[in-house]
């Protein structure tokens, strides 16, 4: 089949090339490639780059984009630090309830986002269990402010760093740490100068995954956010609002802006990762 038409594939007796490649390419095209191409075509050809910029360059859209990326960065940074910590605790320490904690880390993957959204809102709303406590003692409102968005995004991105870092910690050879200790390094110095650099690439991968997920998150955020334009209105919600107004061009422009910023961020993280791997290799 495709192998005869041009030299795409190395010859092999393995059967099923046509069938498997055909199914893969058909579904990939129908579900991902053609729809993505339509989006880009609608944006750049149908609407135009200058017009899209005019849509994005309005305070409300700009504020929504800034909020989405700022909150995603804050939440992912929290998850980066806490995720490495939790992975360390889960691999290195033995304590009662460890198995439950280990399984529970994946809850944000398994729990539908709308469920997480209303559950978080229920406890962090001013009349909720934690919400009322925090308002009375610290005078801070959590739900219906940017803080609420952070909480929802921390929830959504929680498993990523833990799950990428955990296997790396399990593989660390204790002898490296012992060598560091015999050379006179304190435990803290061993952790910061020997262990952390080994975890950095995996932690960054997890960070990137968490970031990509939380930038576009919708379901868990809209319940807790309050959705006040310019203040707590995230970019995905603005796309939904544009669609409800039948402003398809506006929705497309915001969507393409989100994609562009996401890819720029992921590219930057990838570069940092290559740099940190190279640095690791040189050590």
């Amino acid at each position: 089949m495709a192998s005869r038409s041009f030299n795409l594939k190395a010859p092999t007796p393995m059967p099923g090339w046509g069938l498997s490649f055909g199914i893969m390419l058909t579904m990939l095209s129908v579900v991902v490639l053609i729809p993505m191409a339509v989006l880009l075509w609608r944006g750049f050809v149908g609407f135009g780059a200058a017009e899209m910029w005019a849509v994005i360059n309005r305070p409300r859209v700009w504020n929504a984009l800034q909020l989405s990326f700022r909150a995603a960065l804050v939440a992912s940074l929290f998850n980066l630090v806490f995720g490495v910590l939790l992975a360390w605790v889960l691999v290195r320490y033995r304590f009662p309830g460890k198995r439950i904690i280990d399984a529970a880390v994946d809850l944000p993957f398994a729990l539908p986002t709308a469920v997480a959204g209303i559950a978080l809102t229920a406890i962090y709303a001013p009349n909720g269990v934690f919400g009322s406590f925090i308002v009375q003692n610290f005078g801070i409102r959590v739900a219906y402010t940017e803080l609420g968005i952070w909480i929802a995004l921390i929830f959504v991105g929680l498993p990523f760093v833990v799950r990428t870092v955990q296997p790396v910690i399990e593989e660390i050879d204790r002898e490296t740490e012992e060598a560091s200790a015999t050379l006179g390094a304190s435990r803290l110095r061993t952790l910061t100068h020997v262990v952390l650099p080994m975890l950095a690439p995996a932690a960054l991968t997890g960070f990137a995954l968490a970031l990509a997920r939380s930038v576009g998150e919708y379901g868990s955020v809209i319940f807790i956010a309050g959705n006040l334009p310019n203040v707590t209105e995230i970019a995905p919600l603005l796309i939904v609002i544009r669609l409800e107004e039948f402003d398809y061009d506006g929705a497309v422009a915001i969507a393409i802006a989100m994609l562009a910023i996401s890819f720029a961020l992921l590219l930057a993280i990838n570069l940092i990762q290559i740099w940190s791997r190279r640095r690791m290799g040189a050590v």
Binding site: L8, K9, P13, M14, G16, W17, S20, F21, I23, M24, L28, V31, V32, P35, V38, L39, F82, L85, R92, I101, A103, A104, L107, P108, A110, L111, P112, T113, A114, V115, A116, I118, A119, I123, F130, L158, R163, P167, R174, E177, E178, A181, T182, T190, R213, V215, G216, E217, Y218, A235, P236, V240, L243, Y248, A251, V252, A255, M258, L259, S262
Partner: protein
């Protein structure tokens, strides 16, 4: 693990001060870290989970269960099951085909295809929904034609299926590709040499090797398919009793201040999440060596 020069050395050290291995942290720090993790997870994971059931049962079991038997709720449950029943097998077929094409053959552009398969993970669910509105919505000639011919896609079930398929696209393939890559081609090649047909090789050699990884991928795919909110919200049109899935029904109940109904339906999905996590843990514990997720260890 910890190698010490001799038992006498250890005893001598222990007599001077409490012994601590050079590769662990002080006990105080250890328990502080464990306590910190417990607190954060309580505040973020356990408390919301308890809240769901607390809110659902606020007016008793009977009231909660009655809310589930309402016609709208029933139709939402049926639609969600239908969506999962169609998208999950399609995803499994795609995952197997993609993993077979990627791991059993050498061809150009493989890395690109793998990246494209992963693409839906880094795209907002809302944008995923938007894609299908742009393709088949009433703003397009194709959409108008489809509606005129009695086969609407957007604001109908086919759109929900497409959006769900997009969102769950990488799940099975991502799980199978590393596993099949590691298993190599030797067993299949042996079966072929012995005269087995391609299909027979797949069913009797490959499938048994990947069944747990496949189940693992299907499990996660199903959880996401049943729980997807953003993408489905955009394409569904939220027609009560027709295009409203369980997560959308939760939002409707919630916005109508039908708190018990919203949280009861949320509780049903939370139970599904429990089942998913339990099965997943069992798989990871029992068949760790045959899964990609645990095989990196």
């Amino acid at each position: 693990m910890i190698s010490l020069p001799s038992p006498t050395g250890r005893a001598a050290q222990a007599s001077r001060r409490p012994f601590r291995s050079a590769t662990t942290e002080p006990l105080v720090i250890k328990w502080t870290l464990i306590g910190l993790c417990f607190s954060v997870l309580t505040v973020l994971l356990f408390a919301p989970l308890i809240a769901i059931f607390d809110e659902a049962l606020r007016r008793g079991w009977a009231f909660a269960l009655a809310s589930l038997s309402e016609p709208d709720a029933q139709s939402a449950i049926r639609l969600t099951l239908l969506v999962a029943a169609i998208t999950v097998p399609l995803n499994a077929i795609f995952g197997i085909a993609a993993a077979w094409a990627i791991t059993k053959f050498d061809w150009r552009g493989k890395a690109w295809v793998i990246t494209l398969i992963d693409l839906p993970f880094s795209i907002s669910p809302v944008v995923a929904g938007l894609l299908f509105v742009l393709m088949f919505g009433s703003n397009t000639a194709l959409g108008v034609w489809l509606v005129a011919n009695g086969f609407p896609i957007v604001f109908a079930v086919p759109g929900i299926l497409l959006a769900t398929l997009f969102i769950t696209f990488p799940f099975v393939a991502r799980e199978l590709i590393p596993v099949m890559l590691e298993q190599g081609r030797a067993e299949e090649e042996a079966a072929l040499t012995l005269g087995a047909s391609g299909w027979r090789t797949f069913v009797t050699v490959t499938l048994p090797n990947i069944r747990w990884a496949l189940l693992y991928g299907v499990l996660l795919c199903n959880a996401r398919a049943m729980g997807e909110f953003g993408a489905v919200a955009v394409v569904s049109g939220k027609i009560r009793g027709q295009t409203t899935t369980m997560p959308l029904m939760i939002e409707m109940f919630y916005n109508e201040y039908l708190s018990v109904a919203a949280f009861t339906m949320a509780g049903v999905l939370a139970l599904l999440a429990f089942v998913t996590l339990t099965l997943k843990s069992v798989l990871e514990w029992r068949y760790a060596d045959q899964l990609a997720a645990t095989h990196r260890h």
